[in-house]
Symmetry: C2
């Protein structure tokens, strides 16, 4: 039996990211889960923020933002960045920040993966402002990059150790790998042919 829980956006799992932008000349970071992929080639990634969010102001000003993926050892400071606003608290000293090609999208060195994004589309919907960005560069800690079959590949998620969230308001760790994309269904495909 199914129970109706009403209009709840219960997508799971949700990635926890720190969205970065320069606001009034300083790096600021907002914790959010409303982030995802919209395209692969070209690489499109969105973030959805409150229209009055401090970070929103910086993205609107520069047309750029970063997406940073905190590992679980940064749980406290990541949660903190979701509790306090950059309007009240200067978050620029919480992390070691660096810039890439865009020059206005501050990134967090302590996060193993950082995406530098240029806004290519934006819109307001209800009380949100949604930015769709084209990833111009992905920066990854060299410890998590290796060579396989002549190509550079990234470590699996158990090493990247992301903070994961769901609308039950809990944070989770990633579990073990259980399969490979476009391979687990091959047997069913063969049956059908």
């Amino acid at each position: 039996m199914k129970v109706r829980l009403g209009p709840v956006p219960f997508v799971y799992p949700i990635p926890i990211v720190l969205a970065g932008a320069d606001v009034q000349g300083k790096p600021n970071f907002a914790t959010l889960g409303d982030c995802g992929v919209m395209g692969i080639k070209p690489a499109l990634v969105y973030v959805s923020l409150g229209q009055n969010h401090y970070t929103t102001q910086g993205i609107l000003e520069h047309g750029t933002y970063s997406v940073n993926f905190p590992p679980t050892r940064l749980l406290s400071v990541t949660d903190y960045c979701g509790i306090v606003s950059g309007r009240q608290v200067d978050k620029s000293g919480l992390f070691e920040t660096f810039y890439g090609e865009l020059g206005t999208a501050p990134m967090i060195r302590e996060c193993p993966v950082n995406l530098e994004c240029r806004v290519v589309k934006e819109f307001s919907i209800q009380h949100r402002h949604v930015f769709v960005g084209e990833v111009v560069q992905a920066h990854v800690d060299e410890a998590f990059v290796s060579q396989r079959d002549g190509r550079r590949v990234i470590a699996d998620m158990t090493q990247l150790d992301p903070i994961i969230y769901a609308l039950d308001n809990r944070y989770y760790r990633i579990g073990e790998p259980i399969g490979v994309g476009y391979r687990e269904g091959k047997a069913l495909q063969a049956e059908g042919e």
Copy 2:
């Protein structure tokens, strides 16, 4: 040291969902990871599909779609739904389907959580079609719903057992809970006051 891996949309973790739509009078389901939350109240959830995808045709026709979250025991058939197109294979018999309030968004009974969505915004970007839907109803297996402090709450992700993905092309299981939202950063907040 950071290594530059180029314009890769390396968001992680990625939720694996089965997007459902009626196409030419039959339920069809597409496996995708390009799905996420855009707003809480009202509840907004997007899916991004190829413009020529079979499922895209059904969503355009009815203005509705569903988002279904397969548990890991459905890994093979979920991967299969990402390999084959509804144009070639009739996927309507792969699952037990049901309809909710919208009447045209087929949902999968075997998935513990199903979201029924009405399209409130759509746009093309590059070779994708993005649908932003308002969740009109969340359907959850009663086994995963309980009462706590007089409110209905949903089981944690270790019980829902979602299929998780990353751009390393691997599937993963969820790990253990490690904290509570808006609580883990309270100590840092108190320090700052």
